[in-house]
């Protein structure tokens, strides 16, 4: 691990541009992918008590919470990221190409991201991209658009690893957006300090036709406390997490978000590998009489806060789907030009070429719909409808793009020698997720 002094230099994402494309990239880039050790995945599938995480001492703080600034739109239609965004995205693209793509298959197989990679992500300040500078975060100006661009760039390297790297940022982002001064003071230091805490936003539940507005997980008042019961599915890095932000139905009030540290007990976790996003080490998290203080309720339990959280999470999943779809397109273009059948490249056949065109068309549409919703969020406007549109497009076309990509590679596409089958699994998976990520 790096020293505190080093970290203070590299923590902020802003620092990327100051240290010329990131020291981290250069440093890790010297080593070959094969040399990188991977976390051994927990294969036994047994439930275990959650990681004995740190104890969060509740801080009571009055006064206004620090809020991320919202950007001020010019009113003009514009698809140009601002200078800061361009620099961050360039750095993330390099990071994704150099650090994510080469280890993607190994991480997918192991159901875990390499420890070094996660440490690099922490150093890059990814965890606090959604937290304002005043609170020690790395966002000079908090922006859902920036979050979307970063997620897209990382997922171009690998969707599963992007989820692994970004999932722990969901809780600090939520604290920055909706936490009160006390909640921010209690929990944010765990993400801005030396050892970045692993945390997860747990919304998805295992039942079919899951509706985030009709939760089975419940929170009941018991004196000055809430007691949580229920099961959350496919929680990224759930076995490592020290702090969960849990969606639960608050009796009589509807769905709300609760900060639940594992140190309080009542939380069990079990690895739950899925078809896709495997590098994110997904887990089932069970709350069985988990008790939290009244101060654990985020955003005073307001319906708008919860709805906005669901919508922002959907946008983050759209962004990683766009990144993976673009990766598939970028991979297919040289492949169909080089693969020869019947005496000429298969790209010369309309049946193949038109499939490539369709992937380009739908990826472009997915991206614009996602950007639109994110830019509305940044402008402080309602983006309920636009988030739904983006999700519909990314779920439908994302899955189709994964399927088309495998189809175009034929037998090759079905084997693990090529990355395409992973995009097939990841893109199908991205369309069903709720929560876990946040922009």
């Amino acid at each position: 691990m790096t020293t505190v002094a080093d970290r203070s230099m590299t923590l902020a994402l802003r620092a990327i541009r100051q240290i010329a494309g990131s020291e981290v990239i250069d440093r890790v880039g010297l080593r070959g992918p094969a040399e990188r050790a991977l976390y051994a995945a927990s294969k036994n599938g047994m439930s275990a008590a959650a990681t004995a995480g740190r104890t969060f001492t509740v801080v009571t703080k009055r006064g206004a919470a620090e809020r991320p600034r919202t950007a001020n739109p010019t009113g003009l239609f514009d698809l140009t990221p601002d200078d800061d965004q361009q620099m961050i995205v360039e750095a993330m693209k390099e990071f994704a190409a150099a650090e994510l793509r080469p280890v993607a298959l190994a991480a997918d197989t192991a159901c875990a991201a390499p420890a070094e990679l996660l440490a690099s992500a922490d150093e890059l300040g990814l965890a606090t991209l959604g937290v304002p500078e005043d609170l020690g975060g790395s966002a000079s100006e908090r922006s859902a658009v920036t979050g979307v661009l970063v997620a897209e760039a990382l997922a171009h390297g690998d969707l599963g690893l992007a989820v692994a790297a970004l999932s722990t940022s969901a809780v600090p982002t939520a604290l920055g957006l909706w936490g009160d001064a006390g909640q921010q003071a209690t929990y944010l230091p765990a993400f801005t300090g030396d050892e970045v805490a692993v945390s997860a936003l747990a919304i998805l539940e295992p039942q079919p036709l899951f509706d985030p507005f009709a939760l089975r997980t419940t929170a009941k008042r018991a004196g000055e406390e809430f007691v949580l019961d229920g099961v959350k599915a496919l929680v990224p890095r759930g076995t490592e997490a020290e702090l969960f932000l849990v969606a639960a139905d608050l009796a009589g009030r509807g769905p709300a978000l609760f900060l639940v540290p594992t140190s309080g007990g009542g939380v069990t976790v079990a690895p739950e590998p899925g078809m896709g996003a495997r590098a994110a080490a997904t887990a089932t998290v069970t709350f069985d009489g988990a008790r939290v203080p009244a101060s654990a309720l985020l955003g005073e339990g307001a319906r708008e806060v919860y709805a906005e959280c669901v919508h922002r999470a959907r946008l983050a999943w759209c962004a990683v789907a766009v990144g993976a779809a673009q990766a598939a397109l970028d991979y297919l273009i040289p492949y169909v030009n080089e693969r020869v059948a019947f005496g000429e490249p298969i790209a010369h056949r309309q049946a193949v070429a038109f499939s490539v065109s369709d992937i380009a068309i739908e990826t472009a549409g997915m991206r614009l719909a996602t950007w639109r919703a994110a830019s509305l969020a940044d402008a402080g406007k309602d983006f309920l409808r636009e988030a739904a549109v983006a999700r519909q497009l990314c779920a439908t076309h994302g899955a189709q793009i994964g399927s088309s990509a495998v189809q175009l590679l034929g037998g090759h596409g079905y084997t693990k020698e090529y990355p395409v089958e992973r995009w097939y699994r990841d893109l199908r998976t991205a369309g069903v997720f709720e929560g876990a990520l946040l922009v």
């Binding site: 739109p73 239609f77 698809l79 509706d211 490539v356 472009a364 549409g365 950007w371 739904a388």
Partner: protein
Amino acid sequence: MINLETPKKFRPLIGQAHMVAQEVLRPISRKYDTGEHERPKELDFLAAVLDGMEDSGATSGAGAAGAGKGEDKPAANGTDPSATKNGSNLSTALSIMEMCWGDVGLLLAIPGQGLGNSAIAAVASPEQLKEFGGRWAAMAITEPEAGSDSAAIRTTARYDEATDEYVLDGEKIYVTAGERAELVVVWASLDRSVGRAAIKSFIVERTNPGMKLDRLEHKLGIRASDTAAFILQDCRVPASALLGSPEVDVKKGFGGVMQTFDNTRPLVAAMAVGCAKACLDFTRDALNEAGVTIDYDRPALAQSAAAAKFLAMEAEYDAARLLTMQAAWMADNRKPNSVQASIAKAKAGRTGTDVAFGCIELCGAAGVSETELLEKWARDVKILDIFEGTQQIQLLIIARQLLGLTSAQLK
């Protein structure tokens, strides 16, 4: 800075276009669908109103004439030349969406709003703009033996040194507004042995005795818009009627004439977007009356099948609309947009038809009956996946550019 909302400065224009669509076009939609080949007199008045709209705003208006070269005016938000511009390509696309929410066929029949006007706006010299600007211009590309394969057109243009004229000979079909326009932009080859590089466009006065109206088509939709066929026989035009450069540059190939499409394809995409919006608005109301509510929060599949279908169609509509705005915005900012123009056209073209048919499915009898306009929109919208390049042509263009293939490699 990323923002995909309708620019504030265009909202008054768009509002006016919507009013025109609702108050002027829709009330006469059925009349001119039934009375094919009747000239919609109401539109003469409308052309004057549109001219007024264009003159009143710094930016241009509701018809095809607005699309053109990127705006040269400094950006409104300061002196930074790198700042984004929202110009006439975007404003035109947005107002066309509104007008086609009213009626696609009638939009195409509004005097002065022909696709020939876009060609003139895109490539005309200042002198030509002075002579031909502001006059209604149709576009004549297709021939009986050359549809999508516009490089194969047989109409010839021979230069007559004695009179400094070009002499056009050939046959043109599917000329939108060909009967009623004042000008027809005719594509012809200066030298058929050279192929596409020799294809040029010429502005022909509709009154030219060498260009004879052969017939008007009877069509599936856009019946308010006349579709003409012409015979060109010893049709003489002054040398100054040639649009762009008279040089036959084999290296540049189609350049001049094809660049028109980069401006017009987003506009045809905008027509499909507007028509799709009309279908969706009608269907949303019909579903509401039937007690079906559409919830953007709940998963689509946890709602009724009708609501899920509607949500899916609405999403495709949004994608088509945003892709259209992107292509137009790129044109305004002088970014090469051939791929995006074709992406917009392909997406909007197929989405328009899919949405119209999906809406009919949801509305049932009301979707098919002539008591409502939905069945008409479904007939109208199909042309938008055909003219200015069919769906398949757009897919070819996109693929060739992405894959770096020539038309000989990817046929």
